[in-house]
């Protein structure tokens, strides 16, 4: 049994370039085992979103390109496919920053999730989504633009579930949400992974929460993977502790400036 049989997704030494000149990913490799949650950590601008978009094919509309290496999903090379083809293989990305269809109702948003198999019935899938996200039920007919942040995050995740994903790429689901809501969302992510057997790549800045539910993690900096390991190992690692878990290793905290360089302000692209 080769490694590609245990891994649903293999990213092999890829480089990504935007507008033919700006290189943002430099030789990233990672593996996502079937049925697992793999977390991708790193500070702003590390290249996490770009890595996800390389997998889902969404680089193209942004004028980005995988210039080197290969991305293999379930034995098939996918780095030259279009998003339409990639989604139909079962790879669904939930975009960063919660992007509902504001002028569609909650249920219409969910129906867009059936685009990859739109002639098929979808009632049961709706029920499944409402089962995981019960708070969406009584908001079914509300325009998505009027939902709260937490509800919106649930909606965009539910929308992705409608597509029967085999690989779910979640980009910062905790972004800008209250701690209680974050905990709720992560609990549901774990349940989806366990009950639906969905393989998940979880991009997060909230390393603490992410490493609690992930099985394995990668840390990216400046377009490279700088560290990887089991969640338990990463949580115990002094560097991860200091920069991503907000715990100081040696008791005495490092200078504010040094830490801050890892917590650059979020850029809005």
């Amino acid at each position: 049994m080769g490694a590609s049989n245990e891994s649903l997704l293999v990213i092999n030494n890829i480089s990504v370039v935007y507008s033919d000149v700006i290189q943002v990913i430099k030789g990233v490799s990672l593996k996502v085992p079937r049925g697992r949650i793999v977390s991708l950590l790193g500070s702003n601008g590390a290249g996490k979103t770009t890595t996800l978009k390389a997998v889902s094919g969404l680089l193209k509309p942004e004028n980005g390109r995988v210039t080197d290496g290969e991305i293999v999903f379930d034995g098939e090379k996918i780095h030259n496919l279009s998003p339409e083809e990639i989604t139909r293989l079962g790879i669904i990305q939930v975009l960063e920053g919660r992007q509902p269809f504001k002028y569609l109702t909650v249920e219409e948003n969910l129906r867009v999730g059936t685009a990859t198999r739109w002639m098929k019935p979808y009632r049961q899938d709706l029920d499944l989504v409402y089962h995981y996200f019960p708070s969406l039920v009584q908001r079914r007919k509300t325009l998505a633009g009027y939902l709260s942040g937490g509800e919106t995050q649930m909606l965009v995740m539910g929308r992705a579930l409608m597509a029967h994903p085999r690989l779910l790429l979640l980009d910062e689901p905790s972004l800008g949400l209250a701690p209680l809501v974050v905990r709720e969302i992560f609990r549901i992510i774990k349940r989806i992974n366990e009950e639906q057997k969905t393989t998940i790549v979880l991009v997060e800045q909230n390393a603490n929460m992410a490493l609690r539910i992930a099985h394995y993690g990668y840390v990216m900096e400046n377009g490279r993977v700088v560290m990887e390991g089991d969640s338990g190992y990463l949580r115990g690692n002094p560097d991860v502790k200091e920069f991503y878990l907000g715990v100081s290793a040696g008791g005495a905290s490092r200078s504010y400036r040094e830490v801050k360089s890892y917590k650059r302000r979020k850029r809005w692209l």
């Binding site: 339409e84 669904i92 990305q93 920053g97 569609l104 219409e108």
Partner: protein, 292 residues
């Protein structure tokens, strides 16, 4: 009073047709942000296709109408495939210039075949379509065109509200990247919006042709009237396009009825400028939901 009512009905039914054809224009704009300057030519092609089928080939009217609708649906699809698709991802100004070029090309072809003279359809609408209410007489054309306009509107509404493809089209208009991330075939959505726009335009072209007669220049210029209509209604509101159409239709008929027919085509643009000065987003422009 009768004259007023006559003008009113005339204005409303012509305006409804303006509104319905503006809908197609709005649909292309909403899904792909392209301003289609060849919209009037799509109306004209529909009107002349119907003329060929009815007057030259002597097909039964209903069949001819159906063939015209299906043909223009296919034409819209083809135009998107051949001319627009290669430009996806290019700067919008190129795409808009392309539609300007397309407009003069199509107009040239029509002039070549049909010349610039006024032509008319044979009179085929049955007399029983007319409505006589007291002293007010509504001729069959107005009844027929209003009914058709309303039928198209209802079909439009149902399609967008309930059908999967309609919902996908709205999702693309709403957030294209998110639609892509869920596997919506965005290029198919563009093609479908051109196809539907062309079909609706040809319906309006035929009805306006029955009302006013058909002439390449006249019908093509309706494409420009789409601008005051949609700007009045807001470029992204469908209900607004309909109301905008009716307002322009009424303005036109009242101007030519009470002031002078030669001012008919000027007034809408004066109103357009006035409204743009006061409400730059149109009377019914979308209220942006800002939350997240």
């Amino acid at each position: 009073m009768d004259f007023f009512i006559h003008l009113f009905i005339n204005g409303l039914s012509v305006g409804l047709l303006y509104g319905v054809s503006a809908l197609g224009f709005v649909m292309i704009f909403k899904s792909s942000s392209v301003l289609n300057f060849a919209h009037g030519q799509l109306l004209a092609i529909g009107a002349f296709a119907f003329l060929v089928l009815v007057s030259w080939l002597k097909l039964p009217v209903a069949l001819a109408f159906l063939v015209t609708l299906c043909g223009s649906f296919a034409l819209g699809f083809a135009v998107e495939r051949v001319f627009l698709r290669p430009l996806i991802g290019e700067s919008l100004i190129f795409v808009i210039m392309l539609t300007v070029g397309l407009a003069s090309m199509l107009k040239g072809i029509l002039l070549l075949f049909f010349g610039g003279n006024l032509q008319t359809y044979p009179d085929f609408l049955p007399g029983w379509l007319a409505v006589q209410a007291g002293s007010v007489y509504i001729p069959p054309v107005y009844v027929a065109s209003s009914l058709l306009g309303i039928v198209f509107l209802v079909l439009f509404g149902l399609f967008f509200k309930y059908s999967p493809q309609g919902i996908f089209m709205r999702s693309v208009a709403d957030n294209q990247t998110a639609a892509l991330s869920l596997g919506v075939h965005v290029k198919k959505v563009f093609a479908l919006s051109w196809a539907i726009a062309a079909m609706v335009a040809s319906m309006s072209g035929v009805m306006l042709g029955i009302i006013n007669g058909i002439n390449v220049h006249e019908i093509s210029s309706i494409g420009l009237k789409v601008f005051p209509v949609v700007i009045l209604g807001g470029l992204d509101s469908i209900g607004g396009a309909i109301i905008g159409g009716m307002i322009i239709g009424l303005l036109e008929t009242f101007t030519s009825g009470y002031i002078s027919p030669s001012l008919r085509d000027v007034i809408p643009y004066i109103v357009l400028v006035a409204i743009l000065l006061v409400k730059p987003y149109g009377l019914f422009g979308l209220v942006e939901i800002e939350r997240v």
